[in-house]
């Protein structure tokens, strides 16, 4: 079984984000592995580890796939130190400013070329927050879509995956034959911290660097020029007016009630 995991490098979600000329200023903030993708890595590791146990060379492998700038290597390296086997990074000057349509196109070509059985994703990248890439990958690849999984059961011998899809509308049990695109929610597990051994091992693991040409994608299809949607304008929201802060010395509840009444909220 070959599993691919799509991982993205994103600005640290704890950092204040800025926009310059309608695009996110990625230079000014630390870049990290999208924390929601760590859950996908953890879940895939939990699928393959018992199956590989006792085997000299692992029969079931995990490849991390990312599209992004050179420094996205760091995000892949982190995933490798958690235990994934190898990585593929698609970097190309033409990719700057790509929308979800282009991103899904590139990732789907990498997946197609790699001969994978399963793709794992996070449910959302913490910068774009679209939650569309996994569904778009299923569409482009013509694979089964098993997304927003709160639990995943992989039956490798029968090539079947069953998940519990957990969203605001409830819980659905669904299953499909390989190949499938799976996305996992952050309730599914507790991602491991890379061990010292894992970090050392990751240094020797291979990250392939690929360009658009390797997948026969033309520059015109991606990036800002190929984007199917355009940002006209981005404005920082005016800062909130400074509020009132009171210390409770026995009458704060009543004062709160006065405040709400004054604002006609109660």
């Amino acid at each position: 079984m070959k599993i691919a995991i799509c991982v993205k490098q994103v600005p640290d979600s704890w950092a204040e984000k800025k926009m310059v000329n309608g695009v996110l200023d990625r230079e000014s903030v630390d870049a990290v592995l999208n924390d929601l993708d760590e859950y996908a890595i953890e879940e895939a590791l939990r699928v393959v580890e018992p199956l590989n146990e006792g085997k000299e060379t692992p029969e079931h492998t995990i490849t991390l796939i990312s599209m992004g700038p050179d420094r996205a290597t760091e995000a892949i390296r982190k995933g490798l130190s958690m235990g994934a086997d190898s990585g593929v990074l698609v970097t190309d000057p033409a990719l700057a400013g790509s929308d979800a349509i282009a991103t899904s196109k590139v990732l789907s070509e990498v997946i197609r070329a790699g001969g994978f059985d399963l793709v794992f994703c996070g449910t959302e990248s913490t910068d774009a927050r679209m939650s569309v890439i996994p569904a778009m990958l299923a569409e482009r690849l013509g694979w089964a879509q098993l997304t927003f999984a709160g639990s995943v059961k992989v039956d490798a011998s029968n090539s079947v995956v069953e998940i519990a899809r957990m969203t605001e509308s409830g819980v659905e049990t669904m299953s499909a034959k390989f190949p499938c695109v799976v996305s996992v929610i952050e309730k599914i597990n507790e991602p491991r911290y890379p061990s010292f051994k894992g970090i050392m091992a990751a240094k020797k693991k291979v990250i392939e660097n690929k360009s658009l040409a390797d997948f026969g994608i033309s520059a015109a299809e991606v990036g800002a020029t190929g984007a199917w949607s355009v940002v006209a304008d981005a404005q920082a929201r005016p800062p909130r007016d400074k509020g009132v802060k009171i210390e409770d010395s026995g009458e704060a509840g009543a004062k709160l009630a006065d405040y709400l009444a004054e604002k006609r909220l109660v």
Binding site: G142, E168, T173, A176, W228, K245
Partner: protein, 317 residues
């Protein structure tokens, strides 16, 4: 004739409030056709609920495949409807399912996709609130039919005295859209309180409740509010995860948000910081939630909430 296509979401026999909201936005650009994808025998009752909205025509497709195969089947039906009706845009509710439908549909029909719009203008330019509300972005689709998802409650639905015509379409779902089989479906349990994303007031509890939501709920019930929770509270199993507010929960933008025993981590703020008025009750004067609060109380929620409730009740009588 030019038209905007909206997807009318429904659950347990009830059309979602988002349908009338999408119709209101769609009407700014063109006349509105609403698609209802339902189980056999359900569409008439659902279509009737679109009376007095801006929907001009209901296009209904009845099939067991939607419940059985989910999103891929819905996208297959929608793409066939887009091909025959040639809309100027497709509007879909910004729910987990809606966004996934939108992404797939956009790829299928070759149109650009914009998610989480809070407004759509008559020229189909969208407004989005990004990075937890710290930026407002206007954008538009420049290639193909725009597919736009709109946040629930982003706009007030207008009403008209209109009763839409209903057209039943016979559409067959391709086998390639039946790769997934849904064996069981448990809809989220709805309590008596308003829906989080629809409520005008949200009272939320965090780790500071220590598992006791009774004060939070009592305040919510007094104000007719929805109850929210931080991830710390949902992870601990104190409140259902469907009530989680934040980056990996729901985004809410009510008139009033009251955070009780919530520190205000960035992931929580991402889901509530566009609320009109924010009140925070927290024992720790340094809690980051106070940076956002219009009215902050440094105090114990178990003392402040009951007193506030009493005082509000007294004002009303």
């Amino acid at each position: 004739m030019s038209n905007v296509l909206i997807l009318a979401d429904h659950d347990s026999g009830k059309v979602a409030k988002t349908a009338a909201e999408l119709a209101t936005l769609g009407k700014r650009a063109s006349s509105v056709n609403a698609v209802i994808l339902s189980a056999p025998g359900q569409s008439d009752a659902l279509a009737a609920q679109l009376a007095n909205t801006e929907v001009e025509k209901v296009l209904s497709v009845e099939s067991d495949d939607f419940a059985k195969h989910g999103i891929a089947a819905m996208v297959d039906a929608l793409s066939q409807i887009v091909a025959t009706t040639n809309p100027v845009a497709v509007l879909i509710p910004s729910t987990a399912r809606g966004k996934e439908i939108a992404g797939r549909l956009a790829v299928r029909i070759g149109g650009g996709v914009i998610t989480d719009a809070v407004d759509v203008a008559s020229n189909l330019q969208t407004t989005q609130s990004v990075f937890g509300g710290s930026f407002t972005v206007t954008a538009s689709v420049k290639t193909g039919t725009p597919v736009i998802t709109v946040r629930p409650s982003a706009v007030e639905a207008s009403s008209t005295s209109n009763s839409p015509t209903v057209e039943k379409l016979s559409i067959s779902i391709a086998d390639s859209a039946k790769l997934v089989t849904i064996s069981e479906s448990k809809p989220a349990v709805k309590g008596g309180r308003p829906e989080l994303t629809e409520a005008k007031i949200v009272i939320s509890g965090g780790r500071g409740t220590n598992g006791d939501f009774s004060q939070v709920e009592a305040m919510a019930d007094l104000l007719g509010a929805a109850v929210g929770a931080s991830r710390a509270a949902t992870d601990a199993g104190w409140y259902p995860h469907t009530h989680q507010v934040g980056q990996t929960g729901k985004t809410v933008s009510p008139q009033l948000y009251v955070a009780c025993g919530i520190s205000g981590a960035i992931q929580h703020r991402a889901g509530m910081q566009t609320s009109k008025t924010i009140v925070a009750i927290n024992k720790d004067p340094e809690a980051p939630i106070f940076d956002l609060a219009d009215f902050g109380v440094v105090g114990d929620l178990f003392a402040v909430l009951p007193q506030a409730r009493e005082a509000i009740a007294a004002k009303r009588s």
